[in-house]
């Protein structure tokens, strides 16, 4: 992206904006009413008993929060870009943790269940996703080539496939495979059914990504290759795909991340992956939030790992060209 070389004044440093922002934030804090929370307790010396402080207490709490909020923004705005990003990230993360903490979580419960969630749930989730990703990639390469070929059968089959599998909800595909195939005499276990559904569905999306990536390579590359007497397969393998892969990687990374989380749909078939365990482990003791939030953090961590890997690969290809 192009970043312009002319720097505009920061909106935060304009008085009008700053006042408008402060008033808006004050109104929001006032409406949300934090008097009966920790913040009210902090202001007890000023407003007395928070529960009986009334309008004045509510306003005082809101005002203090607004001042903290706006000063925080102003302070951040004077730091360097990288520092800004880091501080905002950390603050948002703390807010999220505070939100999670507000559910009155029982940490010992999480600690006692986490080994099973990781050894069984995380393992199954990764296992299903990894196999599906490999199969979907193979399908995508074949599908994209078929869609670009002059062969009527190949084009028709691959476009029918992408149309169908992009057109049905993944959950529905999952049920069709799991419940449908046994009626035809093919017994499928839940895990292979989930892998099949995920591979076919994401293979269809990725077929389109690969096709677009291949088509984005200039026609001149094909012409120069043809003029040298190269055949189709050689051109694709040695000239076109090596140039298309760097273009394909970012959207494909997105698909991998989406698939990782969509593997949670396998829980409806009773597969003991992360989501299933998150729902069932907490049920007996009515500790739903503990398990759901734990699963949420594990999914998030996995996604971050994938994002880092994607960034690494992108960087590698950038250096090469």
């Amino acid at each position: 992206m192009f970043v312009d070389t002319v720097i505009e004044d920061k909106a935060l440093h304009k008085p009008v904006f700053l006042i408008g922002l402060s008033v808006t934030v004050l109104a929001i804090f006032f409406a949300l009413n934090f008097t009966n929370t920790l913040f009210g307790e902090f202001l007890r010396p000023v407003i007395g008993d928070p529960t009986e402080s009334g309008f004045f207490g509510r306003l005082a709490v809101s005002l203090v929060l607004t001042i903290i909020f706006v000063l925080n923004l102003l302070a951040i705005s004077f730091t360097r870009l990288k520092v800004q990003i880091l501080i905002v990230w950390v603050e948002l993360l703390l807010l999220f943790l505070a939100f999670a903490y507000s559910f009155d979580l029982k940490m010992s419960f999480i600690q006692s269940r986490i080994p099973l969630m990781i050894s069984r749930g995380l393992f199954t989730t990764i296992y299903i996703s990894a196999i599906s990703i490999v199969i979907a990639t193979v399908i995508a390469v074949i599908g994209a080539i078929a869609k670009l070929s002059n062969n009527g059968f190949a084009y028709a089959i691959s476009s029918f496939y992408t149309s169908l599998f992009r057109g049905l909800p993944l959950l529905l595909q999952l049920f069709l495979i799991y419940k449908g195939l046994p009626q035809l005499g093919f017994m499928v276990d839940a895990v292979p059914a989930a892998i099949t559904a995920l591979s076919l569905c994401y293979g269809a999306y990725m077929t389109e990504i690969f096709r677009a990536g291949i088509q984005s390579i200039p026609k001149g590359q094909w012409e120069a290759s043809r003029a040298l007497g190269f055949k189709f397969n050689l051109i694709l393998r040695k000239i076109i795909l090596p140039q298309a892969i760097p273009i394909i990687i970012p959207p494909t990374g997105n698909q991998f991340i989406a698939m990782l989380k969509d593997s949670s749909l396998a829980s409806v078939l009773g597969v003991w992956e992360l989501m299933y365990l998150a729902r069932t482990l907490g049920q007996r003791d009515f500790r739903h939030m503990e398990m759901l939030l734990t699963a949420a953090m594990i999914y998030w961590a996995l996604t971050i790992v994938l994002e880092v890997i994607q960034a690494r690969i992108e960087k590698k290809y950038k250096q090469k060209s």
């Binding site: 001149g220 590359q221 012409e223 120069a224 043809r226 003029a227 007497g229 190269f230 140039q243």
Partner: protein
């Protein structure tokens, strides 16, 4: 290993390497080529010129069948080009082509660009392909750029690599499709010098170009096209000093101003 297998039979000086008879081509309703008759003999140097849209590029792209003609016959070394032919790749291996936009392979180094053809389709061992590539890069005077990638080179250098890449296939004929049109003015001469040297070495060449100085110096024959037709063809001397056709006179007036 000896020289590469020769795919196209050797011609005597007399028989044409390339012949086009009554060639017609349309894009939809637009007729791009009409009734083209042209013969090119071994070692002959032809310059094709004419206003833009006159069908010059289409014509030479038909010679290695990057474009399909609809009527008439095109023969390259006795092999007819048509849509059901099985051995187009073999014909193409013997016809080098240089494009206006170079079309080098950006993910390969200069050396790899030059080795690709011989190594992948001529079946020549890597070491030998490398030796040949270095020799050709020396011929176009950029052996020191061998390990760079195309986008690290200037336009003129890229085009010279493209010429070397074609020469590594040891073609019988070289086609040039406006090879200097995309270049900055100061780089035109380095490419033209390479082409002149190649012409002096006896290569059969067909060049679409607006470089009239080059045409005068190198061409055995200048073919002037307009509206998809060959309006006139003549030796450079006759063509520049004594143009026969009004359209040729107008064109020369504009281009030599």
């Amino acid at each position: 290993m000896m020289d590469t297998k020769t795919n196209i039979q050797n011609n005597t000086e007399m028989t044409p390497v390339i012949s086009l008879k009554g060639v017609n081509k349309w894009y939809g309703d637009f007729q791009a080529l009409s009734n083209i008759d042209l013969e090119i003999k071994l070692k002959e140097k032809i310059v094709i010129c004419g206003p833009s849209g006159s069908g010059k590029s289409t014509l030479i792209r038909c010679i290695n069948r990057l474009e399909a003609h609809q009527e008439g016959k095109i023969h390259v070394s006795g092999i007819e080009l048509h849509e059901r032919m099985k051995d187009i790749d073999i014909v193409r291996q013997d016809i080098g082509m240089v494009f206006q936009n170079f079309n080098l392979f950006p993910h390969l180094t200069v050396l790899e660009n030059c080795m690709a053809g011989p190594n992948w389709v001529r079946g020549i061992e890597k070491n030998e392909a490398k030796e040949r590539a270095i020799a050709m890069l020396e011929q176009v005077k950029i052996p020191e750029q061998a390990d760079k990638y195309p986008d690290q080179l200037s336009g003129g250098q890229q085009q010279r690599v493209a010429i070397a890449r074609s020469l590594c296939m040891q073609p019988k004929v070289m086609l040039f499709d406006e090879p200097t049109s995309a270049l900055d003015p100061e780089m035109v001469s380095e490419v033209l010098d390479t082409m002149i040297e190649l012409a002096n070495s006896g290569m059969t060449m067909i060049c679409v170009t607006h470089e009239m100085g080059f045409a005068r110096q190198v061409a055995d024959r200048i073919v002037f096209m307009a509206d998809g037709e060959i309006v006139e063809q003549n030796t450079p001397e006759e063509f520049f000093n004594n143009p026969q056709h009004d359209r040729t006179k107008v064109f020369l007036d504009q281009i030599l101003k």
